[in-house]
């Protein structure tokens, strides 16, 4: 559906400005879609993102700064996100003995399991994104990467 219709706005000052609004609006739409599918698993998109990052490096631990670097939204507070996930038993934290300033963070079996359960809905999730073709998705990725410079 056109952005003009969705936001009830008939004109934008420029194509570039419209693109900026479109990205923000589509992102919000996507975020809400993602949040609602994750709600069944009692996990937020930010928490899901952290767990996926940890699975990516498993069984090697990551320190907090590594996680923060890889997070989609750099503003979220990694310390408190990790603590929430620890309380749920999805990861464990250990003070690193080689460098006692840093904390080694490792996903637990329980964490891997919840990701596996979420993966089982992956097809359904992907279907929602398949309104665009693979070629369009590739082009989208190219343009977004170029935009960020």
């Amino acid at each position: 559906m056109s952005l003009e219709h969705d936001l009830q706005q008939e004109k934008f000052s420029s194509v570039h400005n419209k693109a900026a609004v479109n990205i923000l609006y589509t992102s919000s739409w996507l975020y809400n879609l993602n949040a609602s599918r994750l709600k069944d698993y009692d996990i937020t998109p930010e928490q899901f993102n952290v767990l996926r990052i940890l699975r990516g490096s498993h069984p090697k631990p990551l320190m907090l700064a590594d996680i923060a670097l890889r997070m989609i939204d750099k503003n979220s507070n990694a310390t408190r996100l990790v603590e929430k996930l620890r309380q749920k038993g999805f990861l464990k934290r250990e003070i690193c003995e080689e460098n006692r300033r840093q904390v080694d963070i490792i996903i637990t079996d329980k964490g891997l399991n919840v990701l596996k359960r979420i993966d089982s809905d992956e097809a359904e999730w992907l279907a929602k994104l398949k309104t665009i073709t693979k070629a369009e998705a590739q082009e989208l990725n190219r343009i977004l990467d170029k935009l960020r410079g």
Copy 2:
């Protein structure tokens, strides 16, 4: 810069998934860029968005629900955003006499002025988006609209 580099992640499970992450990440990047330019005017991106919506209908008032409908992030609380802007003197609220359930909201001269001042930086802002061509911006808009279905 490539998403893989930015998020230090070497592979995505599919192009579509990568596109979803790319939209969320680029949106966060854009949001922060926008927030930092608006900081000089002591206004948040959400508040700026509301003011632009009101300017779009000026001098016709909008009711709260109209604003909420046009907002980029539908989750933000329109009541409290409007109240913040009223406290700053950027808009006024009047109970509509034809239908006393609704509130007529109108941007003030002070509100129009702050928008005008922000507009004067518009070129600098647009320049940050001009890493992509006009054709690419158009294609981006087309693909994002198609994605939302």
